[in-house]
């Protein structure tokens, strides 16, 4: 093991403020180019309009960048924040951080939420948010030490290259024997050589005596981090109690936290068994409903799915408490102990693998035709270790495999690798190549949008076909749900601010399975309420899972069971108890609406954020190939006749596909109209002046931007 050599660059001593009702009331700004460290105050208006978490991130980022800023420009900021409720122990899911930056794959605002201890430790150290700008020469580590009340920029040589080893080395290095006082944010060589790098955020597992981590995966935030020349950010904080966040009404907080924790403890074993299985329970269910992405989203079902679902992973997961924040009773962050990789630098050595979760299983499993759980675990391990987003890796390789099977690319492009669906060893080899920046993996690591361009211009591949099957929107790879039969979820992906990630809206079951929203207006209403409520978690430092993955036993008796209003009321009570700002459930939606619309306008500032950017590849709406149509011919034929009133007599498959496509593409455009109207946006998807005034985000810069885009009162 290398010895770490530490050289101090800058030390900034500060007096840690007392946390006041969930806020530190200041943010930390670090400019790596200048080696400067500064503290900015948080105003009451900033709290009122932006609340915290992603709201604070966006405001800091908005002020850091200009419309010409690219992801690798020094002024691009990486912002990390918790939120007013972040760091509350015992209220389930209260340890989240939100990370935001200008993305290398989308060119616009990216946000990604992540568990682990960092966000709460950052806040308790005295900072509601962290803003890192500039660039350093490399090997820089930022230490935020709330115990000794100092922030340091350090140059540390001898650090391991990868995030798996670096997380534990830095935990040991800074902990002074109390490893649970440390949280490390880091990435690995995959972030250096690709545009889809992720960040790992650690927490310390006392029982297993190891640093474990969760990922801020989406949109290449890890890539931005690496190219700033920073190797890690470390937060140090001591013990956490219900008093640490200094809630306005501790009694009320204790009451609601106890009720919520108890409900989850009582009901999770009867419902989805998250504490035992994590999100792996979704695999067989998605498969049964034809929703599990298989072979690059061509199909939603495969006979091998049971090999990679809950029944297998309940035996592979190491039993024990797996909460990524203290006291969380959902505790879904499971892992595989003593796994021995068959490839790569850890080949033959026992490692601990954090995961896999549903997204990784579907992305690095079914979607690339791999139904071997051990390969998925190994893909998971190396993606995390190298700092790669498992979703973009999985969806990216799925695209490559379909291109290979269609003959759009050949072994002459792949360095001799056969990349048919199911080729698990070559899928793993691609991951190793992404980390080294060598071979065809270096091309795959550019993400689907750039791959399409390379395949067309350099390999002569069919651009129109790749546009249909390349599962990206806004430059971000799709997360792992089939949307062909759910128009509402097509909107949930296509209109999402950062690109097709399901954290804004997951409406497939409500729409497709339960048919609760048959009209455009009902879909639009759902595409208003659900994204707004889900956004709210990211403002407050919270995890979404406890809200609706465990529901009250009498939930179905309520007027709107999908919203789980008993829990929404508890969240309003929770917010009121911590901040002292008395709110009702509707107020939570209003808080989110302001931040949500501000992010839409931020996209506009960066040259995006219009109707033309809310597009989907046709694969997300319907069958691109005759093979797909024929595999579900009865369903499609029936829809053509019954829903569209089409006469399909004597028509061949290609003719029927063309009719279906016209219908579905038209439906999607009509859905956009309905959603824009519900959200108070114009036909081009831009918030109106009236909307920004109503939401209190009518800052002069916002109004100027709207005016420049033809929107005025």
């Amino acid at each position: 093991m290398n010895t770490l050599k530490t050289k101090e660059i800058t030390t900034y001593k500060y007096e840690r403020p007392a946390i006041d009702r969930g806020y530190a009331n200041q943010t930390l700004c670090v400019d790596l180019s200048q080696s400067s460290i500064a503290i900015k105050p948080v105003s009451e208006e900033m709290k009122r309009v932006f609340v915290g978490g992603k709201g604070f991130d966006l405001w800091l980022l908005w002020n850091a960048v200009n419309p010409q800023t690219r992801w690798d420009d020094p002024e691009n900021a990486i912002c990390i924040a918790s939120g007013p409720m972040g760091g509350t122990p015992s209220y389930p899911g209260s340890g989240k951080s939100i990370v935001s930056t200008i993305s290398p794959t989308t060119g616009s605002v990216m946000d990604s939420n992540v568990g682990g201890y960092f966000g709460p430790y950052l806040k308790f150290s005295g900072f509601d948010a962290l803003e890192v700008t500039g660039k350093s020469g490399g090997n820089t580590v930022l230490l935020i030490d709330g115990v000794d009340q100092m922030v340091q920029l350090l140059e540390i040589s001898g650090l391991p290259e990868d995030s798996y080893s670096m997380s534990s080395r830095l935990t040991d290095h800074f902990s002074a024997g109390k490893n649970q006082t440390i949280s490390v944010v880091s990435t690995g060589p995959g972030a250096e050589h690709t545009l889809i790098g992720c960040l790992n955020f650690t927490w310390y597992d006392v029982k297993r005596k190891r640093a474990r981590y969760k990922q801020a995966g989406r949109g290449g935030i890890g890539t931005v981090f690496f190219h700033k020349g920073i190797r890690a950010i470390v937060a140090r904080w001591d013990s956490v109690t219900m008093d640490t966040n200094n809630p306005a009404d501790k009694g009320a907080l204790t009451t609601v936290a106890k009720a919520y924790s108890k409900e989850i403890r009582d009901l999770d074993p009867k419902q989805n068994e998250m504490a035992k299985l994590g999100t792996t329970h979704l695999v067989p269910i998605m498969n049964d409903f034809d929703l599990l992405p298989t072979h690059n989203f061509r199909f939603g079902r495969h006979p091998g799915a049971n090999n990679i679902g809950r029944d297998v992973f309940q035996h592979l997961f190491d039993p024990g408490y797996d909460g990524c924040w203290k006291g969380c009773t959902v505790a879904c962050s499971h892992g595989v102990k003593d796994f021995v990789p068959m490839t790569g630098p850890y080949k033959g050595r026992k490692v601990f693998v954090d995961g896999p979760e549903y997204e990784t299983i579907a992305g690095c499993g079914s979607n690339i035709g791999v139904f071997d759980p051990y390969t998925i675990v190994e893909m998971n391990f190396y993606c995390d270790t190298y700092g790669l987003d498992t979703i973009s890796v999985g969806t990216g390789i799925a695209f490559v495999m379909e291109c290979f099977e269609m003959g759009l690319i050949t072994t002459s492009h792949t360095g001799g690798m056969e990349l048919s669906f199911g080729n698990r060893l070559n899928a793993l080899e691609l991951v190793h190549q992404m980390a080294s920046g060598k071979g065809f993996g270096a091309v795959v690591g550019q993400g689907i949008r750039r791959m399409k361009d390379i395949f067309e211009k350099e390999y002569g591949a069919d651009a129109a076909l790749m546009k249909d099957i390349g599962m990206e929107s806004k430059g971000l790879e799709f997360s792992e749900y089939m949307t062909k039969e759910s128009l509402a979820q097509q909107g949930g992906y296509g209109i999402a601010l950062k690109g097709p990630q399901h954290d804004e809206a997951w409406l497939i079951f409500l729409d497709m399975v339960h048919n609760y929203m048959p009209t455009f207006e009902q879909k639009a209403e759902a595409l208003h309420w659900f994204p707004m409520f889900r956004t709210w978690f990211g403002l407050c430092g919270l995890c979404k899972l406890p809200w609706n993955d465990i529901v009250p036993e009498d939930n179905k008796e309520t007027p709107e069971p999908a919203k789980v209003m008993k829990h929404v009321q508890w969240y309003a009570d929770y917010f009121s108890a911590v901040t002292g700002r008395k709110v009702l459930p509707d107020d939570l939606i209003k808080m989110s609406e302001a931040v949500y619309n501000f992010q839409r306008i931020f996209n506009l500032k960066m040259g995006y954020g219009k109707r033309e950017h809310d597009t989907l590849p046709y694969r997300a709406m319907g069958p691109v190939t005759a093979l797909e149509y024929e595999s579900r011919r009865e369903r499609y034929d029936k829809q053509l006749v019954e829903k569209q009133g089409a006469d399909i007599t004597g028509k061949d498959t290609l003719e029927k596909m063309a009719i279906l496509r016209r219908f579905r593409e038209k439906q999607y455009e009509e859905l956009k109209d309905a959603v824009y109207e519900r959200r108070g946006w114009d036909k081009d998807g831009i918030p109106s002046v009236e909307t920004v005034k109503r939401l209190g985000i009518d800052f002069p810069e916002v109004l100027d931007l709207l005016k420049a885009n033809g929107v005025s009162s």
């Binding site: 009867k270 419902q271 989805n272 329970h281 979704l282 067989p284 269910i285 049964d288 409903f289 034809d290 809950r310 997360s479 749900y481 399901h502 954290d503 997951w506 497939i508 079951f509 409500l510 399975v513 339960h514 979404k544 809200w547 609706n548 993955d549 529901v551 036993e553 939930n555 179905k556 008796e557 069971p561 999908a562």
Partner: protein, 65 residues
């Protein structure tokens, strides 16, 4: 007899998950049940027999994500 949550229901020969749910209120709310520890989804309700003395847990609306 079979048990559904904390309630007991009479069992009969040929009972499937579909038949069982038809006799319950709000059966449309359920897309997934756990039958003796095994997950059964709606597309398989009609083809899945419910043995006597079974324990059935109704899984609320799947939330995803």
């Amino acid at each position: 007899m079979i048990r559904v949550g904390d309630k007991r229901f009479p069992w009969h020969e040929g009972m499937t998950v579909s038949i069982l749910l038809e006799g319950l209120r709000d059966s449309d709310s359920y897309a997934v049940v756990r039958l003796n520890g095994r997950i059964v989804s709606r597309p398989n309700f009609a083809a899945t027999p419910v043995p006597d003395e079974s324990e059935v847990i109704l899984i609320p609306m799947v939330a995803g994500g």
